[in-house]
């Protein structure tokens, strides 16, 4: 077939599908009914790095035209939004009313549907869990049962298969979820610089409970005495009386703008071990050793990358990928081995993040669980990274860990299956609502889920 070339945020792998933009539930149902053997998948804002929101040879439903809020209770903060609504719009509309999204990833350009399908987590996972915990109901169109409303107590299996189910259990049309009450749009942030990974992990273990939000940036390009040095950023929303005089007049002000776009695809080799090291060095030096009670805006604290539009082009024509894993508490030794191996092999790039997760939710394929998560950026033309990551994959699996599907574009089917022991339960639910496997994406093909 001929159609647009579709990729994830990493701009790799590439496939071609039929892209349509439904504007109603009826059109969604028609797309499922008229599917070819190559099937159908929903797509949000395409912010997953790999291939879950594309479907080679089949149909891709761009859900972003179905957007907006259909119900909102200003008392409880419970909102119903169409699945194509972006978290950025929710923020724009509801922050002035004193409500923040319950969970935000490192970009606000994701949809409610994408947030559910990857059960996204943010800097508050240790205090608030992932996105699925805040959802009270959703409307799905499924191949076998048509339009259904699911809630944790009505059809818990379908509900928890859909949370983190990468779009394979139905097309989400809308969702109802609880927003998070805030009195100001200012974050009170504390920054602590630490010399190595163990000290940042110690700080998080002892201190994360005092903060709503916590995440560490970790340098994966320095070795020796600088190995694993980190900058820990933690914070919470300020109360009105904690603001400066001027800011108190408009405590919920919110202004999110893109400062510039990366206009063209960067040349090959712009990010090489030398420039990566220089960037990491600058970042680490820039951070104060200890700087507490800084006032930051929501975009500056949560979405600094969004200030640079389509920054993914900065990685050159081959694109980029991410590798995000978790190891459970008790497997710290594995995390240290992973960190030193990444530093020794110099495959990682600039945006590398370490975080401590709280308890898991019942999502069958939900990624977060108690433990340590590490997220690493890589340029895809560094093909020597392939064997390095294969080796690290084995360590992660041996330690009882797993990989985040929203970031993956290269793991092996057996690695995926080993990390997600509830895959068979997921399959059973999927087979009930989609016996003919109409819902398909390239990720499911690659990981042998269909």
């Amino acid at each position: 077939m001929t159609g647009p070339t579709i990729t994830g945020w990493g701009r790799t792998p590439v496939s071609t599908g039929r892209l349509t933009q439904p504007t109603s539930v009826e059109q969604v149902a028609e797309a499922l009914a008229g599917a070819s053997s190559r099937g159908v998948i929903a797509r949000g804002l395409g912010r997953s790095y790999g291939d879950p929101a594309q479907n080679a040879g089949g149909t891709v439903l761009d859900m972003t035209a179905m957007q907006g809020i259909t119900a909102f209770d200003p008392e409880s903060g419970v909102v119903t939004a169409l699945a194509g609504t972006s978290l950025g719009d929710l923020m724009r509309w509801l922050i002035p009313e004193g409500w923040f999204v319950p969970v935000t990833p490192g970009t606000r350009h994701v949809t409610v549907g994408g947030a559910i399908a990857n059960d996204i987590h943010g800097k508050n996972h240790h205090s608030a869990g992932s996105w699925g915990r805040h959802v009270t109901a959703m409307t799905l169109v499924t191949p076998a049962n048509g339009i259904v409303t699911v809630a944790p107590d009505s059809d818990p299996d379908l509900f928890w298969a859909t949370i983190g189910g990468i779009g394979l259990t139905g097309i989400i049309v809308d969702a109802t979820f609880r927003m998070h009450r805030i009195s100001t749009s200012t974050i009170l942030a504390d920054t602590d610089k630490t010399p190595d990974a163990q000290s940042v992990m110690d700080l998080m273990t002892t201190g994360d409970a005092d903060y709503e939000y916590s995440v560490a940036w970790i340098d994966l390009s320095s070795t020796g005495s600088k190995l694993g040095r980190s900058v820990l950023d933690r914070g919470r929303f300020a109360e009105v009386d904690e603001l400066d005089g001027d800011a108190r007049h408009d405590p919920l002000a919110y202004d999110a703008r893109e400062l510039l776009k990366v206009p063209i695809t960067a040349p090959r080799g712009l990010l090489n071990p030398l420039t990566v090291r220089a960037f990491n060095e600058a970042w680490f030096r820039k951070a104060p050793k200890r700087h507490h009670r800084r006032n930051l805006t929501i975009p500056a604290y949560f979405h600094p990358l969004d200030m640079l539009g389509n920054w993914n082009r900065g990685y050159g024509p081959a694109g980029l990928l991410q590798w995000q894993i978790i190891v459970p508490f008790g497997a710290e030794e594995t995390m240290h081995r992973v960190i030193s191996e990444l530093a020794a092999t110099q495959v990682a790039s600039v945006v590398n993040v370490l975080k401590r997760f709280g308890p898991a939710n019942p999502g069958f394929l939900s990624f977060p669980r108690e433990g340590w998560t590490l997220s690493v950026d890589l340029a895809a033309d560094v093909t020597r990274a392939g064997p390095v990551l294969d080796r690290l994959d084995r360590w992660v699996i041996e330690a009882g860990g797993r990989h985040y599907l929203a970031k993956d574009s290269r793991m092996r089917p057996e690695t995926f299956a080993a990390g997600y022991p509830r895959l068979d339960e997921f399959r059973a639910v999927r087979d009930r609502v989609d016996p003919e496997h109409v819902l398909r994406n390239d990720l499911a093909r690659r990981l042998e889920m269909v």
Partner: protein, 256 residues
């Protein structure tokens, strides 16, 4: 599906006993985790050892199917059938071919036509059928083993050379027809390769090995290239050779 580094999960080789293909597949399996390999060969029941060897380096699903370049009806049905099973094939390699002997061909035109049918017509039907399957699938690559012999016909092997020239032109056009389909065609133009095809022959200058050709194929796939020459500098040699005056070309090509 291919992954972000271009590694291939499943491959179909037409001409599965080719030495170049054998080395390529072994590398794909060993280094790129290719798990599914289908070998299209004239005698599938004689493939037990070859299959065991590919499994030994790590593939989990290896099989042999009947493929004869000279039987287009049967091979088109076979290729359609494979794609119709609903399991994706990431890469199809056209590796079959016969070199033959120019002197024999000149005294046996029927044998010459058969070689041309194998190298050219067989690739036309197999290539079109594979392209149709890949196109419907929305992704994939077709690798075509062309040859520098097709760049400019030479006295000593122009039957073979002309069949490769036809194949090369076909592959270029097929690649153009697939623009926008998610599928691409990789044309491989090796010089003299030490394989069973050339066993006992005097190597031409800049001769190479199946191992080097295999690396070039894998690298070309990963970078989605359109044409690769093996070894690489042959590209420049032939851009010169193409423009040599005929008398001079006759001399140069007779010596090489």
């Amino acid at each position: 599906m291919r992954d972000a580094f271009g590694a291939v999960q499943s491959v179909l080789v037409l001409g599965g006993t080719s030495e170049i293909a054998r080395v390529t597949v072994a590398k794909m399996v060993r280094d790129g985790h290719t798990s599914r390999v289908i070998l299209g060969v004239r005698r599938p029941d004689e493939m037990a050892d070859a299959i065991a060897e590919i499994e030994r380096v790590g593939a989990t699903d290896v099989s042999a199917v009947a493929f004869d370049a000279l039987d287009p009806e049967a091979h088109v049905a076979m290729i359609d059938g494979l794609f119709g099973e609903g399991r994706d094939i990431d890469v199809v390699i056209l590796a079959f071919g016969v070199l033959g002997d120019q002197e024999t061909f000149e005294s046996d035109p029927v044998a010459a036509a058969q070689a041309a049918s194998t190298n050219y017509a067989g690739a036309v039907s197999a290539g079109l059928a594979a392209a149709r399957g890949l196109r419907a699938q929305g992704h994939g690559s077709l690798v075509v083993l062309s040859s520098v012999a097709g760049e400019r016909a030479r006295r000593s092997n122009f039957v073979y050379g002309s069949s490769k020239a036809g194949l090369d032109a076909f592959a270029q056009g097929l690649g153009d027809s697939l623009v926008g389909s998610g599928v691409d065609v990789l044309i491989v133009r090796p010089g003299f390769v030490h394989s069973k095809m050339t066993a006992g022959m005097d190597p031409a200058p800049m001769s190479t090995t199946p191992d080097v050709v295999a690396d070039a194929i894998i690298d070309g796939l990963a970078h989605r290239r359109r044409i690769v020459w093996v070894p690489g500098p042959l590209r420049f040699v032939f851009s010169g050779m193409r423009h040599l005056p005929t008398p001079l070309w006759r001399r140069v090509s007779a010596d090489a």
